[in-house]
């Protein structure tokens, strides 16, 4: 675990260090009484009220060019829009989540955000202990009517596009997705991809695996290899760092492509990453922060569908044929307008 201060936190620290220097050199100019206690109060850039303090709990490293990087995007957005003091902790083991929530709550943060549905249990537990702290979990369905809220996207809307793209690109007629763990939102993710693939080609053979660990690239590599051994030639993932294992498996094979997720990262493996599904929870976090700032916070769950002003749902690359790219954008329009209704299926395997 490596706690990171947001930029504003650094600024505050820097300002305090500077004021300390000032006090040290200007010895004969008597400092105003209680300058030490004044300094932190005057340092925050936002005028007037007490500065909003927000903490994020991330499951992996923000260097992942994926889900955790979108967590950092959310942190930056909150900082920019509300001048908030935003901190995050990376690579929080879900087993320790309650402790991390509790530490932030003890430190007086106004809003603590669990970045990922695996951080639901700790929020539920700690929200009861700290009535004055607000908790928000993304990709989750939890809420308690007061200080615990969550939001989710209709992830199947986005995944449908990835699945459609995979089926259109496949030459063997076999495609697959390697995921980390199965809970309702990740099940909706994987099943949404499946439905998109089947929509594009009803005869497609669909393979799916949960490795049990979003971060383990070795397990993901083996899962991808197992799919490639079954003739899959287009793969998709719902992983964090594990994705690099899938990309490596594709690179070691012949003619296997990968559709990655979250942020355009095709430059990391331009030979196999054919496109990236453009999705993020970051933009929607502002809705909840806005509520909090305006005193309209509600402890409810919300689910945001694919907006019609989202921009291209998949990123274009040199590997991606233009006609297929155009086709995806048309399908995206139909999904956003409701012309294609994507069903949300939260079934995990064996249920």
């Amino acid at each position: 675990m490596r706690p990171r201060m947001g930029h504003l936190g650094l600024l505050v620290a820097g300002a305090m260090a500077l004021s300390a220097c000032g006090n040290g050199t200007a010895t004969d100019a008597p400092a105003t009484d209680g300058s030490a206690s004044e300094a932190p109060a005057s340092a925050p850039a936002s005028a007037g009220d007490e500065q909003l303090r927000v903490a994020l709990i991330l499951p992996g490293e923000t260097t992942d060019r994926g889900f955790n990087a979108t967590g950092e995007m959310a942190a930056d957005l909150i900082e920019e829009e509300y001048g908030a003091d935003v901190t995050f902790t990376e690579s929080v083991n879900p087993a320790n989540q309650a402790d991390v929530y509790r530490q932030y709550a003890n430190q007086g943060y106004d809003l603590i955000i669990g970045w990922g549905g695996q951080f639901t249990d700790g929020a539920v537990e700690v929200a009861e202990e700290f009535a004055d702290t607000n908790f928000l979990v993304v990709s989750s369905g939890a809420s308690n009517g007061s200080n615990l809220a969550s939001y989710d996207t209709a992830i199947e809307d986005w995944q449908f596009l990835a699945g459609y793209l995979m089926a259109r690109l496949s030459e063997t007629g076999v495609v697959g997705q390697v995921s980390g763990q199965c809970f309702p939102s990740t099940a909706a993710n994987q099943n949404g991809t499946r439905d998109g693939a089947l929509y594009a080609n009803p005869d497609i053979e669909w393979l799916a695996t949960y490795t049990g660990d979003f971060e383990d690239p070795t397990a993901a590599q083996q899962a991808a290899q197992a799919m490639i051994d079954e003739d899959a030639d287009v793969l998709h993932t719902n992983l964090n760092q594990g994705v690099f294992g899938v990309v490596q498996a594709a690179q070691d094979a012949d003619g296997v492509l990968v559709v990655t997720e979250w942020l355009d990262n095709s430059d990391t493996a331009p030979d196999v990453i054919v496109s990236t599904l453009n999705k993020s929870y970051a933009r929607f976090v502002l809705n909840k922060v806005e509520e909090l700032v305006n005193g309209e916070w509600e402890g409810v769950n919300e689910r945001f569908p694919l907006p019609d002003d989202w921009g291209p749902g998949v990123f274009d690359t040199d590997l991606l044929p233009d006609d297929i790219y155009e086709e995806i954008l048309e399908v995206q329009e139909q999904v956003a307008s409701g012309e294609i209704e994507v069903e949300r299926d939260e079934t995990c395997p064996g249920q």
Binding site: Y210, A226, Q248
Partner: protein, 305 residues
């Protein structure tokens, strides 16, 4: 299940088993001498990291593995200093080192490589052994591997021979069973334990290096993902015997490779059960086989003259 399925399953299993086996052999040697390494995971992680760092700096796979050994040795040295010099509890030192290595490697990665965590490095190449590699089912798995995996396979009988048939092995066992008696016979227990710990660090470093320099070709934070603990358990389930550790590691890896494929084929079973299957099968199978499961008497007990 056709032949192809089995052959590919075994290829995956041996790939998964290699890093576990090397680390388990190291831990076995160390525990025989009475030193337990909860930080086996940290040793592997350090090796995985320094191996990739070495490969990036030198572009040479042999030097990269030397760097991996260095990473494992560094963690071993810290453990030895804490336990042998400052008489720290071995378990506590091990847990602390795991956290330290995870934090340090992640920090070094981000500070050295910035956002480009996936920089690919040279990987150790596979060498197919003529004729043997063409044996149906097992040929590709056993005889189309890289040199490190071959050495790991040879390491099993070698470790057995070393522990059971050489004066050094006797000294190791004496240091782990009755350190006072060993000392009275002129064996320098501290030196023997340092040696055992160093061997463990070096081997765990190679095991971690095999993970990144063998299969992946890159490092990610916490890339070992608990494999050090599995190797640690394999020593116990293997009853502190080299072939026992091999059996535990192979069983675990075969079932792990199988469960991944079972999911791919759409077995209508909750995936959590499949992911847990390698652990369950290994525990059940080897617990049933256990006749005399006794750790070295002085395991984890620091020796004071």
């Amino acid at each position: 299940m056709d032949q192809d399925f089995l052959a590919l399953l075994l290829v995956a299993a041996v790939t998964l088993a290699g890093p576990l086996l090397i680390a388990a052999l190291g831990e076995l040697i160390s525990e025989t001498a009475g030193v337990i390494n909860i930080q086996l995971e940290g040793m592997m992680l350090a090796g995985a990291f320094s191996g990739v760092a070495g490969a990036l700096l030198t572009q040479n796979i042999a030097l990269a593995f030397l760097a991996a050994i260095g990473g494992g040795l560094a963690v071993a040295a810290l453990h030895g200093i804490a336990c042998f010099w400052f008489r720290a509890n071995q378990i506590v030192s091990g847990i602390t080192l795991n956290i330290l290595v995870l934090g340090t490697t992640t920090f070094l990665l981000v500070s050295a490589m910035g956002a480009d965590v996936t920089q690919s490095v040279v990987r150790v190449e596979r060498i197919a052994i003529p004729v043997l590699a063409d044996i149906p089912v097992i040929g590709q798995a056993l005889f189309n591997q890289n040199i490190v995996v071959y050495l790991a396979m040879l390491g099993v009988p070698l470790t057995w021979w070393m522990l059971d048939r050489t004066p050094f092995g006797l000294a190791l066992r004496a240091a782990g069973e009755r350190p006072e008696a060993a000392e009275s016979l002129g064996i320098d227990v501290h030196r023997v334990r340092w040696a055992a710990l160093a061997i463990c660090g070096a081997l765990a470093g190679i095991g971690g290096g095999l993970l990144t320099l063998g299969g992946l070709g890159f490092f990610t934070p916490g890339v070992t993902a608990g494999r050090g603990f599995i190797a640690l358990a394999a020593v116990v389930f293997g009853r502190w015997r080299p072939f026992g550790a091999l059996a535990a590691v192979l069983l675990f890896s075969v079932v792990d490779a199988f469960q991944i494929r079972a999911q791919t084929l759409g077995f209508p079973v909750p995936y959590q059960l499949l992911v847990a299957l390698p652990y369950l099968v290994t525990i059940i199978a080897l617990a049933g086989l256990v006749t005399r499961m006794r750790p070295p008497s002085a395991l984890g007990v620091n020796y004071e003259r």
